[in-house]
């Protein structure tokens, strides 16, 4: 027994040490990158320290290519949401309800874009649309990104739909609801939270994407491809400023989310406690109402 626990203790210590190293690995680059945003040196660096400055923040505000890139990024991301959510929803509805020996194959086909290297999605989109004389650009970027982001939303919707209580649909049908009404009042509201989640994830994946975008973007640019091309043609700490802004936004969003979750959890807990009290009172009332309600075993009819 003691051997076991000492083995555990050693393992725990090793694991804790490993976690520390791991998170150093995760965060050191972030810290380096963020610090360089405040360095007055013209090239992103933390080793050539020329004093603290905020000038790169104002430089970012005047950098037209970056600002246009940002605007394009948002346009593309919104386009991706508009296209990939309906597609993902449709696929999820079919895959959760279609009982056929082709379902497995359809599933494989619909998730395949996730398992395909991003550059290939970009290339195939570019080749396909050249037949219609559509050159690379924001439109093709939206389509190329949607091809795999739709798969991600589909998986999210499927996970949700599999947890759906089918009886609710039956109940609504039994009460006279048409398919359309049931869909509008029962199924869609059930999916609203997932629609929100899927939108956020689609948005994040879109703005983050580089490998697909770089092939489909043509002469246009997004924030990310602009950063990519600056690696060749000279960098400035403006790039780091963008990183800092994203980190701050994420931390703020995560904190707000955690706060909201905690509040929601407390609210649900309070309701449950109240309900338990209500049930207890109902039981007491039933007891007081008399022995007729207090039978425990099988109630036997009067003997003949």
């Amino acid at each position: 027994m003691s051997a076991q626990s000492s083995e555990n203790r050693v393992a725990q210590a090793i694991l804790n040490g490993y976690l520390a190293v791991f998170f150093l690995y995760m965060f050191a680059p972030l810290i380096v990158m963020s610090l360089a945003a405040f360095n007055a040196y013209d090239y992103p660096s933390v080793t050539q320290w020329r004093g603290w400055t905020l000038k790169w923040f104002s430089a970012l505000a005047e950098d037209d290519r970056i600002l246009i890139g940002l605007q394009n990024t948002v346009v593309v991301a919104l386009g991706v949401i508009v296209i990939s959510l309906p597609l993902g929803l449709a696929g999820a509805f079919i895959l959760t309800r279609l009982q056929s020996r082709w379902t497995g194959l359809l599933y494989a086909a619909l998730v395949s874009p996730i398992l395909t290297p991003g550059i290939i999605l970009g290339i195939s989109t570019l080749i396909f649309w050249r037949n219609f004389d559509v050159p690379g650009g924001l439109f093709l970027t939206v389509l190329a990104q949607s091809s795999f982001i739709a798969s991600y939303s589909m998986l999210l919707f499927m996970a949700r739909l599999q947890r759906q209580d089918r009886v609710l649909e039956e109940a609504a049908l039994d009460l006279g609801g048409s398919n359309l009404l049931v869909f509008r009042r029962i199924t869609l509201p059930f999916l609203y939270p997932t629609i929100a989640t899927a939108s956020v994830i689609a948005f994040l994946q879109s703005i983050e994407n580089y490998n697909t975008t770089v092939f489909a973007i043509g002469g246009d640019w997004t924030l990310v491809t602009e950063i990519g091309s600056r690696f060749r043609f000279g960098l400035s700490p403006v790039i780091n400023v963008i990183g800092v802004i994203f980190v701050v936004l994420t931390v703020v969003a995560a904190t707000l989310y955690a706060y909201y979750r905690e509040r929601e959890r407390k609210r649900v807990l309070a309701i449950e406690l109240e309900l338990r009290a209500m049930d207890r009172q109902a039981r007491l009332a039933a007891k007081r109402r008399g022995p007729e309600a207090d039978e425990t075993a099988v109630p036997l009819p009067a003997r003949a």
């Binding site: 694991l15 680059p29 395909t116 290939i120 048409s178 869909f183 580089y210 980190v247």
Partner: protein
């Protein structure tokens, strides 16, 4: 289909089916098929055709010269015929030279040079190595988050894993460049303790080692390994681990016999995703090697499209990469004995 119709009615079912077909056709299948088609032909601008054009021009010039002389009417008509015939032939040949006919075949694949083939093999090997390293690095993390932490601590760890993803892949990699560069953080530290000297350029050339690409790549794609494993481990009943330990199983045995078998689908998915992302990563090697040394296959593909403008070869290389990824997926499914349904959950 009955189930679908009963649930959603004819109108909605039709809409869903239509959208799915459009998605599959326009965004997935047809573009891939066209890429395959593009990889299967080429337009050869042969030297033979320009020879024929030259020869026809010479004949034409001769005929025109003859025409300019004094000639019998029947001879003259014959020569005029020859001129127009030659002019037509030249036009046709020139059109062919401008836009040579498609020649179908495997030439785009078979013509891959030894250098390019080496790069392909190296890329696949490196991607497999990155996948293996990422698995080794991530498994303990996923396990720790899923089973060894209090819920609050687990949430914090997950947040810690997510925050680096706030910044773009390019920036994540770029941060590593700043650390590993000749005058980067590590070398500056080494210089400060007198280990290397910038003046004498005795710094450690991390960027010239392929290991630096690995470090950045694992960093860039770590979440894709951690989360699938974490998701499966989270569904493992803690009592099973306790029971295994209670029965005297060592930590190693417990993991080998209880935890890892349960995590198999997650491990398979994590490996597939990491391999696919690494093998197809354009950004990481581009930034870490600054396009100078040690090309990866993805960089080669990019250059075929945007520098050599040889889309046919580019398509062939892309398709080769796709096949490699598909083979890897089947390999993982066979090794971990998981079905397609378990993948990408």
């Amino acid at each position: 289909m009955n189930e679908l119709l009963r649930s959603y009615g004819r109108g909605l079912t039709g809409l869903f089916v239509g959208l799915t077909i459009v998605w599959l056709a326009v965004l997935v299948i047809v573009p891939q098929a066209m890429m395959l088609e593009q990889s299967l032909w080429s337009k050869e601008r042969g030297s033979e055709i320009s020879l024929r054009i030259d020869r026809a021009y010479t004949e034409l010039e001769t005929a025109k010269f003859d025409l300019a002389g004094d000639l019998a009417p029947d001879k003259k008509a014959e020569l005029e015929d020859a001129v127009s015939r030659l002019e037509a032939e030249i036009a046709e040949l020139e059109a062919q030279e401008q836009d040579p006919p498609k020649v179908y075949g495997l030439q785009n694949y078979t013509k891959m040079s030894g250098l390019h083939f080496n790069i392909f093999v190296k890329t696949i090997a490196y991607a497999a190595l990155v996948t293996l390293l990422a698995l080794v690095v991530c498994y303990p993390i996923a396990y720790a988050v899923a089973h060894l932490s209090t819920p609050r601590k687990a949430a914090l760890l997950l947040l810690g894993l997510t925050i680096p993803y706030a910044i773009n892949e390019l920036l994540r990699v770029y941060a590593w460049l700043m650390i590993l560069d000749y005058q980067g953080v590590i070398n500056s530290f080494l210089a400060a303790i007198g280990f290397v000297s910038f003046e004498a350029k005795t710094w450690v050339p991390f960027l010239e080692y392929s290991g630096s690409v690995f470090v950045a790549m694992i960093y860039a794609y770590i979440l894709f390994m951690v989360f699938p494993i974490y998701n499966t481990l989270e569904t493992l009943d803690r009592n099973q681990i306790e029971a295994a330990k209670d029965l005297g199983g060592s930590i190693w045995l417990t993991h080998r016999r209880v935890v890892i078998p349960h995590a198999k689908p997650g491990i398979a998915v994590g490996c597939i995703m990491t391999f696919m992302l690494s093998a197809g990563s354009y950004a990481v090697p581009q930034i870490m090697t600054r396009g100078k040394s040690g090309d990866w296959f993805s960089q080669l593909i990019y250059r075929q499209f945007f520098e050599s403008f040889n889309w046919n070869v580019g398509a062939a290389y892309s398709f080769t990469l796709l096949i490699a990824c598909i083979v890897f997926i089947f390999l993982m499914m066979a090794i971990f004995k998981v079905g397609i349904r378990d993948i990408a959950k």
